[in-house]
């Protein structure tokens, strides 16, 4: 159980796909103009990641290595199509507002990367923990970036007016340049955080050595 929890935590913080591994960036900037889109995208991607990892882990003994990439593509594309149609049917507003980015989940490097590096080699339960961790790690970063951009660029949070009427929204943040800038600051903050974590880890290692 502890192992599963560690796996889960990896995705959320230590190996966060967007901030640490720096993959899956495309959709991250495009859908973070507001929080609803961010949550929608994060959960949709988590769904595809979870289902793909489960199926591939289930069949990993049967999938020959030489044709594994096309099979991964087929599985991921199938689940992307499923979530696309489900969203069109039951969340039409969200689906329209995200446009082409839901189908683009199929080329999200995170999913392809995790399936290749993890699902193809590990058992189902591990895969569930990993995919949920990665998926939620992706989602929280999306929501964080979206929160900044929506609050500053629109004065709202998930559509609800938060900033006082006197606040003049800074349109810059919902537009392309603002997105890049906010993202740059997030990455910068994360590099700093990583540095701190490494220092703490090094200190812990030294302390362990001393104790031994």
């Amino acid at each position: 159980m502890k192992r599963l929890w560690t796996l889960f935590k990896q995705g959320i913080i230590y190996e966060n796909p967007l901030l640490m591994l720096m993959i899956g960036l495309c959709s991250a900037l495009a859908v973070t103009t507001n929080v609803s889109n961010g949550i929608g995208m994060g959960l949709a991607m988590t769904f595809v990641l979870l289902c793909s990892e489960i199926i591939i882990s289930l069949f990993r003994k049967v999938i020959p290595s030489s044709i594994r990439i096309p099979i991964f593509i087929i599985v991921i594309a199938a689940f992307t199509t499923i979530i696309d149609y489900v969203m069109q049917a039951f969340f039409p507003e969200l689906s329209k507002s995200m446009g082409v980015f839901i189908p683009l989940i199929v080329v999200n490097c995170i999913i392809m990367g995790r399936v290749e590096a993890f699902a193809y080699k590990k058992g189902i339960v591990d895969c569930v923990a990993d995919s949920l961790g990665m998926g939620l790690g992706y989602t929280w970063v999306l929501v964080a970036i979206a929160a900044v951009r929506e609050l500053l660029g629109n004065g709202t949070f998930a559509g609800l007016q938060v900033m006082p009427d006197s606040f003049q929204p800074i349109l810059f943040f919902t537009l392309s340049p603002g997105g890049f800038l906010v993202f740059a600051l997030f990455i910068s903050f994360n590099i700093w955080l990583k540095g701190r974590m490494n220092k703490t880890q090094a200190r812990r290692d030294v302390a362990k050595e001393d104790a031994a």
């Binding site: 103009t33 507001n34 049967v62 999938i63 020959p64 030489s66 044709i67 096309p70 099979i71 087929i74 599985v75 594309a77 199938a78 199509t81 499923i82 149609y85 489900v86 069109q88 049917a89 039951f90 039409p92 329209k96 446009g99 660029g153 629109n154 929204p169 349109l171 919902t174 537009l175």
Partner: protein
């Protein structure tokens, strides 16, 4: 050697077939809901333009093609007790980030009843404000971009920044939507004339 390729091919085919079958199921399960969603949006918009209408008859076949790059999708006649209230024209045309779909309602008095944006994919905060109910082109009177077309005579001018107020920093979107509206009402006017309605 051949046998190995055959085996690989079969496994690949098996996955592909499984995927297609699964997708066919999901498609069958959701397509009704998706169609219903689109109908719902259209019906709500039609009702919004003609609240007194009792019925809407499809007259798309009767309409002339739209000028310019706009394309007619469907046209409905709004009727009440047998009398024609007006025409609702659904058309799409190119806009900044992709096509925009617009529903234009016009009365037999040759005035625009209203304009509804059904689909648009422009930049949020800029072009997307065309469909934003909280964005006003005339702040004092709280008139939205599409709201300004209401009660407009179709023989009036439709030049953006002259007769039509543009969305700030979104001239392309403003012109695109205006073009679709203009093309729609022109076609609508010719239908009204051909069917001998309207006083003048």
């Amino acid at each position: 050697m051949m046998k190995q390729y055959l085996r690989l091919g079969l496994i690949l085919a098996a996955f592909a077939v499984a995927a297609c079958v699964g997708l066919a199921f999901v498609y069958a399960a959701t397509s009704d809901q998706i169609a219903a969603n689109q109908d719902k949006q259209l019906n709500e918009s039609l009702k919004g333009l003609f609240p007194d209408a009792e019925g809407f008859k499809d007259v798309t076949a009767d309409m002339t093609a739209l000028a310019g790059e706009s394309k007619l999708e469907t046209a409905y006649v709004a009727t009440r007790s047998g009398a024609v209230l007006g025409l609702a024209i659904k058309a799409h045309g190119p806009s900044y980030g992709g096509p925009a779909t617009v529903l234009v309602g016009m009365g037999t008095d040759r005035r625009i009843v209203g304009v509804r944006i059904l689909a648009i994919s422009d930049t949020p905060g800029l072009g997307l404000n065309a469909s934003n109910p909280g964005y006003y082109v005339k702040k004092a009177e709280k008139v939205t971009f599409t709201g300004q077309f209401a009660s407009k005579l179709i023989t009036d001018g439709f030049v953006v920044k002259q007769d039509v107020d543009a969305i700030t920093a979104s001239t392309i979107t403003s012109k695109a939507i205006t073009a679709i509206v203009k093309a729609s009402v022109d076609s609508g006017e010719s239908w009204i004339e051909r069917n001998a309605l309207g006083g003048n």
